[in-house]
Symmetry: C2
Subunit: 224 residues, 2 copies
Amino acid sequence: MQVPIVENVLKLNDEIAEINRKALKTSGVFTVNLIGSPGCGKTTLLEATFQRLNDQLTIGVIAGDLTTARDAERLAQWSDHVVQISTGKGCHLDANQVRQAMQNLNLDKLDVLVIENVGNLICPVGFDLGQDVKVAMFSATEGDDKAAKHPYLVQEASVILFNKTDLLEYVRFDLDLFRADVVKLNPHTPLIELSAMNHDQAGFEKWIAWLVQNAPHALQYGPA
Amino acid sequence: MQVPIVENVLKLNDEIAEINRKALKTSGVFTVNLIGSPGCGKTTLLEATFQRLNDQLTIGVIAGDLTTARDAERLAQWSDHVVQISTGKGCHLDANQVRQAMQNLNLDKLDVLVIENVGNLICPVGFDLGQDVKVAMFSATEGDDKAAKHPYLVQEASVILFNKTDLLEYVRFDLDLFRADVVKLNPHTPLIELSAMNHDQAGFEKWIAWLVQNAPHALQYGPA
């Protein structure tokens, strides 16, 4: 009995996701669904991205969290286009929550919208939000087995970010094993290794270049 | 329409959890439901715990993971009482999965059973498995906001472990803020700060003392 009901919920979610997708496309917004563990550095990456691109692109953020607005508060220091979704006990964002959050954003002003999903490597993967791409984020302090343990996320991601490279020297992490797992699961997706904390690094610039390249007005700007 | 169905699922889960609980009590097993982020150090803690207590207590582990058996393989080097549950896309363990795994364990031989839940701070909290206690695990590399962001886990935990103290010096982490958040949410629960990697530390011995104290044959053993 359970299965058809879950399917209905997902079907409804997908229908709303399509509505979101159309609205975002109409406004020329490139939309990223950013998925990673609690504490992998999603918000820090976005802070650094604002700092780097604020004079080139207008970036909005929809930040999902269970109870606090801490991420949104951090990001609101960089942008007027930040909306918080509190999910309560909910372990992922769904399309309807994003749809409601979108009503608080002026989409026509945005070049890029990043939906910072709830910190969770599992549940967010199954819910289409209307994004253009999913971006998966792992980090050096989580252990080198996390790509292999979360194959669905790796397979659905258009870019895989590996954060906290600055901490690699202090932890037990087999980077070659991690890279091999990623290639095995998703051979054609770029793996960008970076440190969001030390955001002047070459890896961070690869992320910036990728984002700018995909933003609708890329030709006007281009990376530094 | 959705809510009653979810309630039924939870009700059934709770009924099976009670069956598990009775079986574990009958066999004199102290059972821990260990919940933490992906990569917070659950498996490393258990490896260190085996190493420290193997000649004093017989510890079994039920390890939950989406797809790989890597945790169980690591732990099987230390104990014959390790069972793997592969959850597929499932974001938490449920009581029925644990019940099935228990059939592969000789409960009468065990003093302690640790159920290493799927790496996830949200979904596992709502599912009773039949454990005596929930233990929450956070770590220094996840950011100091994770207790505040996951109040339900903090409130339901009988012990809160804070791991990776050896990395505190390399990351941005306000330990006083984290401690204050924990106290605010759950004033009476011990917060044990430790490094599972450097398991000779004082904090690790607090965890060992707590575990031994709660194990049924504690009086015979006692911590070192």
